[in-house]
């Protein structure tokens, strides 16, 4: 199945990638995706334990089972507005 991946802000700059599509096996989890991302973008490996994911605009944890055509975003720490 195909998963759409989106990178933003800090992660977009590190990966030099805004959008990409990753081919994954049925029943793959966010945990699996996380490992695939590190394999494809090794300079993200040191941030791995900070990864936060959203699937189809909703935060999801590592056990979440992905579906074909899901839009997954790697979400940097949020800092909207001013303090």
């Amino acid at each position: 199945m195909q998963i759409k991946i989106k990178f933003f802000a800090f992660y977009k700059e590190k990966t030099k990638t805004k959008n990409t599509i990753i081919e994954m096996q049925q029943n793959a989890t966010i945990q699996d995706l996380s490992e695939l991302i590190i394999k494809n973008y090794p300079n993200l490996s040191k941030f791995k334990n900070k990864f936060i994911f959203a699937v189809n605009y909703e935060y999801q944890d590592y056990k979440y089972i992905l579906n074909d055509c899901d839009e997954v975003a790697l979400i940097p720490p949020v800092s909207g507005g001013s303090k």
Partner: protein, 137 residues
């Protein structure tokens, strides 16, 4: 009402659009770009959003405060792109018959927005630029 936009924010239009003769209190919060952060001179800021998710999260916040504090009239606007010093990056405007609940709801919106809504801020200094809350290892 939610607006995530690269255009300059107009707090007068926003406040006027939620003023309502049924309501006695209007509270408007403006987040503006500061010239210094931790004693370092800031040249300008840049905001980036995951816009459709940000809108979904802001809609959830609005639904929550409408239910919890019985507030109908609320407008949240966030600026994206390059924002100069002194310009407005965030407007939250709430009108309510009850002043107390409007204050509580307004603070709740801002606090929650800063925790859950996917919008990121980059600070540009003389010698470097940095995303606020950049992951460290």
């Amino acid at each position: 009402m939610i607006k995530i936009t690269f255009d300059k924010l107009n707090p007068e239009l926003i406040t006027n659009s939620i003023k309502n003769p049924n309501n006695g209190a209007v509270i408007t919060f403006l987040g503006t770009t500061r010239n210094y952060t931790e004693n370092r001179k800031v040249l300008h800021l840049e905001y980036e959003a995951y816009a459709p998710m940000a809108e979904k999260k802001l809609n959830e916040i609005i639904k929550y405060i409408q239910k919890k504090w019985d507030i109908n009239d609320i407008y949240i606007a966030h600026r994206l792109g390059k924002v100069e010093i002194g310009e407005i990056s965030l407007v939250v405007s709430i009108s309510s018959p009850h002043r107390k609940s409007a204050f509580i709801a307004c603070e709740y919106v801002i606090d929650t927005l800063k925790l859950t809504v996917p919008i990121w801020k980059k600070e540009f200094f003389q010698d470097e630029s940095k995303w606020v809350n950049e992951p460290k290892f």
